[in-house]
Symmetry: D2
């Protein structure tokens, strides 16, 4: 089944293939320049640091629906082990097994493909079981630090949490930009708050998963027009789920990752950040969000921090 | 066997138990104030970002000597999986198993105990196989962002890499501080470069592991006197290994983690940072280094970034 | 809270500590002699082999309630990897992460302790995070092969599946022995069918888990009197759950494993075996059920086979 | 590079595609009939049980050369956890991560492919990262129990261990059959002893791995002529390594698994079995060796037992 014409039109309009050379493996992260960082640093006002990662725990956001995307299994490999005899210094060590996309994470550029291609016209079969993503892997990403802008869509709509059926539209983004009293600009990392993660924080993983508010298929053009470097939000699915176009699943993923070469973040906890930004009347900050550099990764955990 | 008197004297001098209250679980991270962050941000000059984490890979720094501290096993749980039929958007996901202390990481406050106690007089048996560290776990840590200062001991000694037997002393730290033309102050995170990681970067894991230059048992007092928030370096063992005091293994760990309540970082790649700092004649920067917030963790991977 | 007097009386009556020497680490497996094997082999009639293990899969019997007891996460570490160039022989490899007690398994003798003791008066703290069970680990077990006897309690009661509240009593065992037209004798491995696993086979994991029919606290004496070598059944909990004695959880585990030193098996699929035994009018067979010999294991997967 | 003519000739002579129908997924395991089992059971003399699996441990036979084929990482997920309050029954649980081909195992029929095909002309791309082997997976195998025959090649050559360069030939197999005073027949599982595993048992993993004695490319015809059900030996590589034919790696794997549809076993410890068989002057037994039934597996651990 060919992809719908509507999708193909959108794809053509946001496509960045070749924009940074045929060998480029980092896409819109190219837009984060030293100047962007200097400006973002200059914007720090209070020095307050707000963590945006969910704690990594066995009862995390995954419900078991997606095989392999397992919540962290944290185990101790040593507990107060007196390596060199009793009554000396003892050590405790731990290990983990987890899905790289299981918790607060970045989707790498290889997380989705369509029509057999990845970003920058790379072949989808460059991903192997043996080596993972041999092209475009997340370990290729430079340190992901930039100006962050919170677009607080829930707040725009005067609610704590958007309803499950809410597609975040370009109009929503415009309204939130206005609320934020800033203009999203080249190299920014945009954080979209829907409030959906409040379901999880309240203990309801099923409600968190589905149905979910999320980005509309119309948003990639908005990000593309502003040359955004990356986008993250507070949902499991990133885009509205179930999807807007019949029989087309994950179109926003395909547009953002494959066509634009723009990283997506999911399961980011934006609640405390929202409170702080609203209280300060300021929705931009320095965002530090480097992905754990797993070689060949299609996704990776991240512990983002907003510095206000 | 009781711990030697020399150790007990050092322990008494650097002890911070009770300093931030009997319930404190974060130790010297208390020293990172908003003011520290503002000053660090104001010190950003170029906007250049330098990553300090080693890539996470199956042939990482672990040699198999420590059971459980396994290099990352990265696997694909889906490759171009067309979830909803052929010729649609396809997804690739990954999973990992790894030791939390296997690569570039922070030691949490529970990573070592001595005499049955952890930092702040907490009982060592508060660590369980079931829940990990029920007190002092790394998920309790606030975002680890502060001013970073590189103390480039190898450069002080005019070498790329200190010899295996080199104990980094307070005198070394003084000399490196002088080279850095800054004064280490309260809340700073200090990065100590020995050059030892060049062994690993050149493909020799065995030489990297042992013998290793590292911090002398005399350094905790130096850090304590300056109220340093955390210390990281570019070795596997952090402290000099084999140790300086006969029959006393990991004394620096015990002093830093248990007595002071100060996080330690290991396997940080400081080579590019060293070049940049030397070229700029400036050895301080904003350091962003939040640990992945594993609940109950005694250690956690981190992807630190220096922003110059 | 001390254990109830009722438990303590039962414990005294079935206790085997010291019976096979103070150093014994295998308990009632001592009862399987070469003679037992010869007799069991001589009893093979048809040569039919019936597997008793559930397939190992990501949607296995675990529901996530018990942290760490995770269903198998099976991943491919290579798929048709042409190690030595294209168009040659290619290899596919796999890896797994799983709880050792997650699927069809044997409980090892260290799976439970009470009052700080394990079987044969061994200290419970001989189990460490570093090495697992340093005493009594499942790798110490000899090959677990013996005569198997199916006691088909569901069939005795004329049902496919006993109700959740059914405690399998000594009277049930007597009746099933009569149905089986054999006498349980020293060294036998007894398989107890409740039919509870039909819930799981029908896709209902929650109903399978709880409430569950299972062995009554009165059954260990029955097994002890007959010198049974091991007992397995087709439930998640082995014993009736919720338990019979208020505020005493897992009393059957404590009696079987700690007092008698007798292995327990759980999540065995006895459905096909039940059909075959009933059709043949014969409920004994050669049972081959060696645990995977994980060093230091408190439990281990097993792929049992009944040979009729 | 096309496969050499020599290989293609051998392949044609041992090919079993279609022999058990176009839908067959178990290959030569079809040869194990109930009659074979009855005869094997009737051959049991002493009732002695000999385990053939290596203990599963972190310092197992893998050296790290093959990414993903990791030695077992055994961890405790609970240690004496008093689930329902202090002084009650406490539980200990464990988990593991391991390569399915890491220790004593069966290669499944999908472990190798050549020219894009698996056994019975199935497409190699039927193996996916998502589901593993969707055809021919090891969970499809019936219980692997049969008559076992030890062909003790080391003993034939009057040595404890064959040299690394020794290719086990059909002539070797003939001589060992003569030593065994039995005739290998349809449905038998043949165990080939080279003594190579003595390297590992003596602590030398590197010597165990390479160079290794092993089966010659001429042996598949021998097995095919006798309609052997499966073959296992005491090496890491199964076949002689480095290989006999220049630029053709794993030809025996390709012939056995792809052409014949015959399982291969590796890392089986045949030392105690060899002693017992020689002492008794009898080299056949009932062999019970069911693979752990991982769904979609290309290989699986097995804890084989020989019953003499």
């Amino acid at each position: 089944m060919p992809l719908p014409q509507e999708f193909q039109d959108l794809a053509r309009r946001v496509n960045n293939w070749g924009r940074w050379g045929t060998d480029d493996e980092i896409g819109t992260l190219n837009l984060i320049t030293d100047e962007v960082i200097r400006a973002a640093a200059a914007g720090i006002r209070t020095g307050r640091r707000i963590p945006l990662a969910l704690p990594l725990r066995h009862d995390g956001v995954q419900t078991g629906l997606i095989p392999g995307r397992v919540n962290p299994l944290h185990t101790m490999t040593a507990i107060n082990q007196e390596l060199f005899g009793p009554h000396t210094v003892a050590t405790s060590d731990d290990a983990v097994t987890m899905g790289l996309q299981a918790a607060t994470h970045w989707d790498g550029l290889t997380h989705v493909s369509h029509s057999g291609r990845l970003y920058n016209d790379r072949p989808a079969d460059s991903i192997t079981a043996h080596a993972g993503a041999t092209l475009l892997g997340l370990e290729k990403a430079p340190p992901i630090v930039s100006r962050g802008v919170l677009l607080d869509i829930a707040r725009v709509h005067g609610t704590d949490r958007l309803p499950g059926g809410h597609a975040v539209t370009p109009e929503d983004l415009d309204a939130a930009e206005e609320l934020a009293r800033t203009t999203v600009r080249s190299g920014d990392i945009v954080l979209i708050r829907t409030g959906q993660i409040r379901h999880y924080l309240a203990g309801d993983r099923e409600a968190y998963a589905f149905p979910s508010p999320g980005l509309s298929v119309r948003t990639p053009e908005w990000f593309h027009a502003r040359d955004v470097a990356a986008v993250a939000n507070d949902t499991l699915t990133f885009e509205i789920f179930p999807p807007e176009i019949e029989n087309l699943w994950l179109p926003v993923h395909a547009l953002d990752l494959v066509e634009m070469g723009m990283l997506q973040g999911q399961n980011w906890n934006l609640e405390e950040l929202s409170e702080s930004c609203a209280a300060a009347g300021r929705f931009s900050f320095l965002l530090s969000a480097m992905a754990e550099p797993f070689v060949g990764a299609s996704g990776a955990p991240v512990a983002p921090v907003a510095i206000l």
